[in-house]
Amino acid sequence: MIIDALAGVLLIPALAAALFAALPGYRVTARLNVLAALLTFLTATSLFFVEPKSGPYLLVDDLNKVFIVLTTFVGFTTSVFSASYIGHEIEIGRLTPVFVRFYHSMYQVLMLAMNLALVANNIGLMWVAIELATLTTVLMVGIYRTHEALEAAWKYFILGSVGIALALFGTILVYLAARPVIGEGLYAMVWTVLVTRAAQFDPALLNVAFVFLLLGYGTKVGLAPLHAWLPDAHAEGPTPISAVLSGLLLNVALYALLRFKMLLALNPVAIAPGPLMVTMGLISCVFAAFMLYRRRDIKRMFAYSSIEHMGIIVFAFGMGGPLANFAGLLHMTMHSLTKSAIFYAVGHISQVKGTQKIADMGGLTVTNPVLGWSLVLGVVAIAGLPPLGIFMSEFLVVSSTFAREPGLAIILALGVLVGVGGLFMRLNTIAFGEPRGPTARAKASYIPMFAHFAIVFVAGIYMPPALVTGFQNVARLLG
């Protein structure tokens, strides 16, 4: 039954959150956390097999199925990683058990919020969920209570709340646009209804609404110039949260943006959302690429690379068309997997080296070969070099765009090239050269990292037809 599956995706995290808040003893909780995440993931996968039926509040269609499964999967692997990570944090006394209890419960709340945002059929509900996710991550970013952590959280909170406010205003405007057509009440906020009637909506209202939504949710996506919270939040929070932020939360916000883009695209008179998204995507990509060169903090560097890739994805979706949309989806998936895997590696590395400063780590492939080479592999993947998955998506984005908008394609490609330069410049210091810093062995569970890399690697060479058809359906859905 579809409702069960949907409810499961929401209830399991909710119950787990409550439970973890009650339970002391972080070891048990960590295991339970993994278990809960796994259950959620399984439930999510079951969505593929039972034909979903959408109610006025909840909705399952091809588009968010992809997102849900991706989210729950990365959530699961991250929970595995976080188990070993948090253990180390407690050993060195960076976190006290109280905070860990809080952490785990918040982790599940975050999962709940993201799943809710993805399955919500009601724009109001979706807004609430995304906001909940934001607030949870704010709390988790500040969890170390160091000056930097507090500053990052504060920055994140202020910018995030402004984003929230703008998004809400946009939502209200959408409702106002829908009301004269659909009539007052709940159904003027329900996706499935909105998309059917979008053509008659008032274009001017829709335009204003989209501007606010673009800026509001764009802040969460981390598009420049709204990105400011992102690097610090990634750098100062616990690494699992960095992984979840880059791998998932950005996607969720992107998902919201896509929904509204579809809505606007259905209205012939309203402004085309494509150009706006393309512009912001290009700006983010190029800007982030240049920012990579002066980074001294490893996590902050990869945060900027996330901005770059979000830019590419938004660019692809902005271009539209089946090929570009397919590429965008593929790129989003690959980026989530790769980037979270990179953050797993980075987490262990910074624990081994006892710092996040790039200058204090070096020759990693000599001291910790597994971590070092994994990082190299991750950077190769994120830089979009074959035979890994991101190359395929970037290939599709650039080549399909070049046929239509050569100028844009060239700008994008050069931005990517600059980004490659920045990444490898740092990688040389981190992974090669004379070893620097402590050279202890890492007590780490490499499974999640390797799992992600394996998927990315295989996807770069062979994509199962089922997945392809699924993506193609979604691409067609996105128009």
Binding site: L150, L168, F169, R179, V208, D232, R295, R296
Partner: protein, 220 residues
């Protein structure tokens, strides 16, 4: 009746914009908070009037929330904080009051232009309200941008939220979920801000955001 109700709603919304301007005008934290209370008061009034006009009883709830939380609880709490931090008199603005006012004018004009393009058959009430709400939002944002001081930025943020409430209530028949979420958000916002202020109190001797900005994560 129709015309009168429209005029009153219009007047209330307009006065909300006016109060936002008064906020921009303040240069002392203490009086700023008072003006914010007034802001919330006007909001409550307008929400109540909307409730009466649309005879939507649930809006009264929103009005009460606005009245209690925003007009009374929050200002008093903030008073406490600033008194305890001993920063109730100083307040540094980035641009002088005059330029801020001019910017505000420009923003209001902009929001008018944008909103009046909306086709009129969406009922005029909502349309005018929207124009004012948008101006309130923009003014709140302007305030956050032009003040250096954390408390005043929070105030700016909250007046921004007031703009949202105005818009939401202006939207006829919008489901309750929204108001609740607005109040909810303000509540959360306030709690979290409070937590932060306390943590900041523990760590630093001022809530000046610049003090936070001393730590850039990356040493230059």
């Amino acid at each position: 009746m129709r015309g009168l109700s429209f005029d009153i709603a219009h007047m209330l919304a307009g006065s909300l914009v006016l109060v936002s301007f008064m906020q921009l005008y303040q240069d002392r934290l203490y009086s700023l908070l008072n003006i914010y209370a007034l802001h919330a008061l006007v909001l409550a009034a307008s929400v109540a009037w909307q409730a009466f006009v649309q005879d939507a009883p649930h809006l009264y709830l929103t009005a009460v929330i606005a009245l209690v939380f925003k007009a009374i609880v929050i200002p008093t709490a903030l008073h406490r904080i600033i008194v305890r931090l001993g920063i109730h008199r100083e307040i540094e603005t980035v641009v002088g009051v005059g330029p801020a006012m001019l910017l505000g004018m420009g923003l209001v004009a902009l929001s008018m232009v944008v909103m009046l393009r909306v086709t009129a058959e969406a009922d005029p009430l909502a349309r005018e309200d929207l124009a004012f709400a948008l101006s309130v939002v923009l003014l709140g944002l302007l305030m956050m941008v032009t003040r250096r001081n954390a408390v005043s930025q929070v105030v700016g943020f909250m007046s921004l939220e007031n703009g949202l409430v105005l818009a939401a209530t202006g939207a006829k028949g919008m489901p309750l979920v929204v108001e609740i979420s607005v109040a909810f958000s303000v509540l959360i916002a306030f709690i979290v801000i409070g937590i932060f202020l306390f943590r900041i109190r523990e760590r630093f001797d001022t809530v000046d955001v610049q003090a936070l900005d001393r730590f850039r994560g990356e040493r230059r």
